[in-house]
Amino acid sequence: MSRPAAPSGPAARRSGYEVVVGLEVHLALRTRTKLFCPCAASGDEAGATAGAATAGAAAAGDGSGETQPNRHVCPVCLGLPGALPVPNARAVELAVRFAAALDCAVPEVTAFARKHYGYPDAPKNYQISQHDRPVGLGGALDLPNGRRVRLVRCHLEEDAGRLIHPTYADHSLVDLDRAGAPLIELVTAPDLRSGEDARAFLEEVRALARALDVSDATPEEGRMRADVNVSLRRPGEPLGTKVEVKNLNSFKSVQAAIESEATRQERLLQAGRGVSQETRGWNEGGQKSYVMRTKEEAADYRYLDDPDLPPIRLTAAWLAAVRAATPETPAALRRRYAAAGLKPDDADRLATDADLSRAFDALVDAAGRAAGATAPAPAAQALANWLLVEVVGWAHAANTGVTALRLTDPGPAGRLAALVALVEAREITGPTAKALLGEVLAGADPRALVAARGLRQVSDAGELAGWVDGVLAAHPEVAAGAREQPKAVNFLMGRVMQASRGQARPDAVRALLLERLGIGDA
């Protein structure tokens, strides 16, 4: 999609219609256990660590049938007779953390309700959710493009199981490993105006969920899912009839489904036919939607306050503690990084990647600790450049993740900060530092390496002149043509750096070369 930003502009309108979009987003909470029982929430044995959570979700997500189903179940999440749910305090805390960060009003009392629907993925034939007392009401999320998306509510609920439809079988199979896992559902007001808008919103929600350590928010593993409500109207008129599209398992599908649905409705309206209220499913392969149920078949959920779960009182003191333990939001991170002098793109990249932002903060801390009166800490931008370009590139080439480098630990962060400080203080050259990066990340002390190998940057005029004159003598024809061929200077620079084994101070080399070639400062 290459449509320009500012989606509320004419670009979002179709034949004079405005596209109106609301989202329902589900996020799988990052808890060790399920919402109402002690079973592992991630479907993984260990469950506790983020890495394990990812592995577990992957195992459950691909439907390859290679993993055993129904391993993480107990009487409670199987809905056996007499079993009772007991709320997971951590899940409540994470949901409130998320709701509060979205500026939702967090009530003094929150309660669970049973939402009834008969489907084999719900072993009790009801889902424990929240109805009139959710953890958050109202609130808003500001997108980086400045658009404010109002929220209707944020609530906690249990996930359903998974149905498996074996090929050529006359039956389906049920895997309840995921049943009872904690979810947050976030419902927006109809404030979005295009598929692109929706995608930007989802990206911001994902960044927020990760920054707050609330959810892995990985759509590809089913840990972030969205349903969309789409309607068309003439600008300024009341909302049109909305259609819900479900089964969207990537941000791309969300965007495509909204555009496809808007086109479908536009055609209906153009043809003078009305849009009927219905729920549609999204066919990923065909990139089109199909009818799931019409308004007449709309479910009556028969909500009932869950008598097994007494309402939970959220005291002011507890709420204050939750707020105090809440990490910074992407918006706050963006502001902080901008104030520290980072380029907007870098600030945004760090703000929307929790792993990188934690590594960056640790790096800044380490650099600050090591700095003294004589050796100031490197600029934040320099640290950002090293992290975002060199370290990320190195990790990518090494086929590992940035988290595996443990840059949030003082040791690794301190060593990397020291390497950058050496460059910034011009004690070593950039090329030297890049050559040392792998060893430093593997645990070597950059100062010791530089000292042991004599890698300090050379600024001595005599030494530099020796290398420069040697190179000029070796390449007389290049030197002669340098006046007409500016690129030739770079070639000669490279040879000098090579001759100095990367130690020659680059700006001094360039100045000397230009002087010898009789070229004015370019």
């Binding site: 009487p75 199987l78 809905g79 056996l80 007779p81 007499g82 079993a83 009772l84 749910p85 007991v86 709320p87 049973r114 009834h116 008969g118 489907y119 084999p120 072993p123 009790k124 034939n125 009801y126 006359d170 039956h171 049920v174 009556d300 028969r302 909500y303 009932l304 008598p307 097994d308 779960l309 007494p310």
Partner: protein, 470 residues
């Protein structure tokens, strides 16, 4: 008839072994003709008994209920022993876990000898709707035992066991206790764990105890009471002292709920007057108290119970356990429909359908929510009444046990009789039924005492004081 305390003392002092006690109780249960038991847990009881005997031999404390045989209503889960709630839909269901109350009774040395008959899913007042057939009254097989915990009441009345567990959602422990002439208590909501108790109406359900006297009930309650991490509705103070404190009745203020005295049979009224007289003889004063909204209690109670039942019973769809009818290839809904149609009895279907209706869009306001409001006002009214008196006295049931089949086709007549007992469930307050002597046809009548929340110890003490003189 030996009490639980006497049995435990005999076992502890090795005058009898727990295995001998278990064998005697199992034999008595097997020879009973009242259809009180639906499953006997021989292997489990004998294994537990052997463990109790071994503990005593080894000098370890076998617990306050050492070797005491108990019967457990069949809607309370027992690991490895079939638990059906008297329903075809759960035929063959063997729970992989014990209800907390069962685990705690056994930890105190008790021996679960079997599971008792009941109205299907505890929905009834006569123990006639079980898939295992009706329970017969111990004194007159042509009469009902009361319900829904009829089997447990009979097991104690016949002397098979000194203690039995029932569940009480609207009177299902107290009413059969009254009909069978035994002692029955429904504790404060939150006193006993509901974990492993097959839910009928979760906000009203509470496990209760049948016994021959107040002191045995106190021992059993003490063994089971207390917060359960597996039941979020158990209360922190649930483990408060439960033994019946010796009570001097002088100065005690007893409130007769005048409205409930209406429509009571002559025989039952005479028996209740006798209990009131015994209170007075002991130095208490008896006054009449007004209880507004009593006439709305039954409607409120049934709406709430049916609404919650419609939700709680939704899981019995033939997918994971129990009965499965229909063809899988026709889909979940078809299997659920066939399973429920044949697996659930008429009364259960009636309540589930009415409860679903009460919760449905457009009706929830008029029914479910209104019922909840009435419930709160009734609880407040009881609270107010108990501000002026120490304890409320009411009939447990308006009549003695009726004839088998008499009310099966008149559900409303059966529902209305719950007015006397459902107040305690709506308010969560503890209530007990004590034997009040014989009424019509020589059949037993029961007197009900209702006290403020967590007042079980006093309630049991007062009950002991007036029963002892009977």
């Amino acid at each position: 008839m030996t009490s639980a305390r006497e049995t435990a003392a005999a076992v502890r002092s090795r005058r009898v072994t727990a295995v001998e006690v278990a064998e005697t109780a199992l034999a008595a249960a097997a020879s009973s003709t009242s259809n009180a038991f639906v499953t006997l847990a021989e292997a489990r009881a004998l294994a537990r008994a052997a463990a109790v005997d071994a503990a005593i031999t080894a000098g370890r404390d076998p617990g306050p209920l050492a070797g005491v045989p108990v019967a457990v209503k069949d809607n309370i889960c027992t690991a490895g022993v079939a638990t059906t709630a008297g329903s075809a839909v759960l035929r063959g269901f063997v729970p992989p876990y014990d209800a907390t109350v069962v685990a705690r009774l056994e930890a105190a040395g008790a021996l679960v000898i079997g599971k008792t008959n009941l109205d299907e899913f505890a929905m009834g007042s006569s123990s006639e709707t079980s898939v295992f057939g009706p329970v017969r009254h111990p004194a007159d097989p042509g009469r009902v035992a009361g319900g829904s915990s009829g089997g447990s009441a009979v097991a104690v009345a016949e002397g098979v066991v000194p203690l039995a567990l029932g569940t009480d959602t609207g009177g299902s422990v107290r009413q059969p206790a009254a009909f069978c002439g035994v002692f029955g208590i429904k504790p404060t909501y939150g006193r006993l764990s509901r974990y492993g108790v097959i839910a009928y109406a979760s906000s009203l359900d509470q496990v209760g105890v049948f016994s021959r006297d107040a002191d045995d009930a106190a021992v059993a309650l003490s063994a089971m009471a207390g917060r359960d991490p597996a039941d979020a509705t158990t209360a922190a103070r649930a483990a408060d002292e439960l033994g019946p404190v010796p009570v001097d009745l002088r100065g005690l203020r007893v409130g007769r709920i005048a409205d409930l005295w209406q429509g009571v049979s002559d025989g039952v009224r005479a028996a209740l007057d006798g209990v009131a007289a015994r209170f007075v003889e002991s130095g208490a004063t008896v006054v009449d108290v007004e209880l507004p909204l009593v006439e709305a209690a039954v409607s409120s109670y049934y709406l709430i119970a049916m609404a919650e039942a419609s939700s709680n019973l939704a899981r019995y769809d033939g997918t994971l356990y129990g009965l499965r009818l229909g063809e899988a290839r026709d889909g979940h809904e078809a299997v659920a429909r066939a399973t429920r149609a044949a697996g659930l009895g008429r009364e259960v279907q009636r309540r589930v359908l009415m409860g679903s209706f009460a919760l449905s869009a457009g009706y929830a306001d008029a029914y479910a929510e209104r019922a909840a409001r009435v419930r709160r006002r009734i609880a407040d009214a009881l609270q107010d009444a108990l501000a002026g008196v120490d304890v409320l006295l009411a009939p447990t049931a308006p009549t003695v046990a009726w004839r088998q089949g008499e009310r099966l086709d008149d559900p409303l007549a059966m529902y209305v009789a719950d007015v006397t007992t459902c107040l305690a469930n709506l308010s969560g307050m503890p209530a007990l039924s004590l034997p009040a002597g014989a009424a019509e046809d020589g059949l037993p009548a029961g007197a009900q005492l209702i006290g403020p929340a967590w007042s079980e110890a006093r309630l049991l003490g007062w009950a002991r004081a007036v029963t002892a003189k009977a």
